[in-house]
């Protein structure tokens, strides 16, 4: 037998030394690469640009947000602190340091509410690819980006009831005028609609691509469906399609705060819908986008652009009527009688 014990021991001692060195090198490399976090680099960038406020501590900036059914740890500000800094004219900051557009942050403090309450995403994550899961990827929470970000307003506000939620209001109106509620229900919402199609409160979770396809070419997702294609009314105009999709995405979101629906609808319709009754619009400053835009048109014609159905009792199935509960019967006398 050719087993040389001395040579074997020498060879494997050397082998052990080499392996140990290589493995140590791998482990050190791994530790160095994996211990660096993106937020550290971003905070360093912001600090070096001179924009970093001295009052703010460095490190992971997190907010514990508890509203309604939602409870989340929001760490978005760890990278996006630049959002809260005033945009100085002329100087263009790069992502993630860009300033938040509009004046929304003055009423929605990120220090109190965090960012994900409006923008979605996986707020707990500190890795951009995980934190920024986008609508349509069905990864984590859908991230509410433009053009859909107004969908988030529905969590605390009635669609259209506040300035800045115009797209959501237009989407909600499209929902009514296209008659989505004639077949689809929004059951858990306390609203009406038929059970013919699937509950729309859950469809938004299937993602943007799926919703788009279901509207423009429903047969692609459900062979033999009776749902008509909305290619002619929605497909030609991407803006209108985005309006409706914003509302459909909004339907999947929880209600974090009671926007006072019952109190609102307990009043006579004419309190708000002044064009239909006595008090004049404009005497008090309405924030409601619907009232400001439509005023006199908020009647049957707002949904039924053509001839009205002959059967007056048909109004009983009208989602507008259902949405407004009993209070509207005062106006829709044909049904109430």
């Amino acid at each position: 037998m050719g087993f040389d014990q001395v040579a074997d021991a020498t060879r494997w001692r050397f082998g052990l030394f080499v392996t140990a060195s290589v493995v140590t090198l791998i482990w050190v490399t791994m530790a160095v690469i994996e211990s660096g976090e993106p937020w550290e680099a971003y905070q360093a960038e912001l600090a070096s640009s001179g924009l970093w406020p001295r009052s703010v501590n460095r490190g992971v900036l997190e907010v514990d947000v508890a509203m309604g059914s939602q409870h989340r740890t929001d760490r978005c500000r760890s990278c996006h602190l630049g959002m809260e800094l005033e945009a100085e004219p002329g100087a263009q900051r790069q992502a993630p340091h860009t300033a938040h557009p509009g004046r929304l942050l003055t009423q929605h403090s990120p220090e109190q509410h965090g960012c994900a309450i409006c923008h979605g995403g996986t707020a707990q994550a500190l890795e951009p690819s995980v934190a920024h899961a986008l609508v349509g990827t069905t990864q984590h929470d859908p991230m509410m980006q433009q053009p859909y970000v107004q969908a988030s307003c529905i969590q605390c506000h009635l669609p259209g009831a506040v300035v800045g939620s115009e797209r959501l209001a237009r989407g909600a109106r499209l929902y009514l005028t296209l008659g989505c509620g004639m077949c689809h229900s929004l059951k858990a919402d306390g609203r009406g609609g038929w059970d013919y199609g699937p509950d729309l409160r859950r469809m938004g979770r299937h993602g943007d691509r799926y919703l788009r396809q279901s509207l423009l070419d429903p047969a692609a997702n459900f062979a033999g469906t009776t749902m008509p294609s909305y290619q002619s009314s929605l497909g030609e105009n991407p803006e209108i399609l985005s309006d409706l999709l914003t509302y459909l995405h909004a339907l999947t979101l929880p209600r974090l705060k009671d926007p006072g629906i019952d109190g609102l609808y307990a009043r006579p319709c004419t309190t708000c819908h002044a064009g239909l009754g006595g008090a004049a619009v404009g005497t008090i400053r309405h924030q409601c986008v619907w009232i400001n835009e439509e005023q006199e048109q908020l009647r049957c014609q707002s949904c039924h652009t053509g001839e009205l159905p002959v059967e007056v009792s048909f109004a009983g199935f009208c989602p507008v009527v259902r949405e407004h509960r009993g209070g509207c019967l005062a106006c829709h006398t044909g049904y109430g009688g």
Partner: protein, 413 residues
């Protein structure tokens, strides 16, 4: 007694043959290293993990993003666990191919217990992230228990702590994963190592000269342990394994898939619940358990196959099995077969075909090369079929349709 036990865990002398890499491929040592890695990383993960449906997913996100080196820690734990399933299976195949279970019946049974424990540990850990993948995987696998008469029906509610996967299931799986199963695994692993020495080292029928374990064996062991640990660290750098969305019992993922080591059984169940979910696995397990008692031949133990004629027969059996099962799976998707009655499909399907092949191969090979070769042929048929079913199962997409791994699922769901 205690001395006897401790001194038998590691040898003082080994045969020169045992040092040759192709004798064992160090599969046992690699598995042991992987287990120790999962024990250390798992212990650290336990410091942060919260075993409740509300807290589990969030705590994994914290581990990934907030804990220093938490991400490689989780990846290493996960990869070592998956790899352990592979190395344990390969180790078992090596023992079968060498007939090394002869005169080592007890240790063979210890080994099979370790296989079951490794699978149970991997599976119980699979649920813990509480994301869509893990939640629906565990539902699929535990639903397969419905097809097992008596045992399955009794075990399912005990395992789940209810009729469905929920908070009670998560807590049970966690307790099993961090306490019960590891304790059993350590006990059986120690017994396994001790029995090797008690049985006189690696099984070998021939004569072999010995050398001292230090330095020849210990240095080799050191190198292998380091290589495994180094590869695990390299893996965490190269490959990420992102979480799926958080578990949502109201929203089934499509496809709902078992973990890869059980997806072969899921594929078999898709043809016939009783045959794929009970008869095939039951037969497989019984054959493994009975192997050292059926094969009474003590000659030629410890070598790779008895003769070139035997090897040729086994290769033919394996290749034919692969071809036939692949063809059968492919034909099952053919619309012409949809006209068959349900009861016909229960009897005529790829799983029954592979069971039939198993008997034919046993008869053919044992006739030519003896009982041991016949048993090896039977096992080869079962292993190759399970491999084919596993690969096909991995390739299943929405509605259990076939997709190549690089194909995108339609519909954006």
């Amino acid at each position: 007694m205690r001395r006897n036990f401790v001194y038998h865990l590691h040898p003082l002398k080994v045969t020169e043959r045992a040092l040759a890499p192709t004798t064992t491929f160090a599969l046992g040592l690699v598995t042991l290293t992987l287990f120790l890695t999962t024990a250390v990383t798992g212990g650290l993960l336990m410091l942060y993990y919260v075993p409740t449906p509300e807290g589990a997913y969030a705590s994994i996100l914290d581990i990934e993003h907030l804990v220093t080196l938490g991400e490689p820690l989780r990846l290493m734990h996960r990869f070592a666990a998956h790899l352990m399933v592979v190395t344990v299976a390969l180790h078992l195949l090596r023992i079968v191919a060498m007939g090394a279970y002869r005169c080592r019946e007890i240790n063979w049974l210890f080994g099979l217990s370790l296989l079951a424990l490794v699978l149970a540990l991997a599976f119980s850990g699979y649920l813990l992230p509480w994301d869509q993948t893990s939640y629906w995987a565990v539902r699929v696998v535990t639903n397969m228990l419905d097809h097992m008469p008596l045992f399955g029906v009794m075990a399912k509610p005990l395992l789940l702590g209810g009729s469905e996967v929920g908070g009670a299931t998560l807590l049970r799986f966690y307790a099993m994963h961090v306490a019960v199963l590891p304790a059993f695994l350590v006990a059986f692993a120690v017994l396994h190592l001790w029995r090797i020495r008690r049985d006189g080292g690696l099984a070998y029928a021939g004569e072999a000269s010995t050398v001292p374990a230090w330095p020849h064996l210990v240095l080799r062991e050191g190198v292998i342990v380091l290589v495994v640990v180094g590869l695990l660290a390299l893996w965490t750098l190269l490959i990420d394994s992102p979480l799926a969305p958080p578990a949502d019992p109201m929203r089934p993922s499509n496809p709902e898939k078992a973990p890869w080591y059980f997806v072969g059984f899921q594929e078999m169940v898709s043809y016939s619940a009783v045959i794929g979910g009970f008869i095939f696995p039951g037969f497989f397990a019984l054959l493994l358990l009975a192997l050292p008692f059926l094969d009474r031949d003590d000659d030629a133990v410890g070598g790779w196959f008895a003769s070139s004629a035997e090897r040729l027969r086994l290769v033919v059996v394996a290749a034919l099995t692969a071809a036939v099962v692949v063809a059968a799976v492919w034909m099952c998707a053919h619309p012409a077969l949809a006209v068959l009655e349900t009861w016909t499909q229960e009897l005529v399907n790829p799983v029954t075909l592979s069971l039939a092949l198993c008997l034919i191969a046993f008869a053919w090979v044992s006739n030519g090369s003896g009982l041991r070769s016949g048993l090896r042929a039977a096992l080869a048929v079962l292993v190759v079929s399970l491999l084919v079913f596993t690969v096909v199962g991995i390739c299943r997409g929405p509605d259990w349709a076939f997709f190549w791994p690089w194909e995108e699922y339609p519909g954006g769901i």
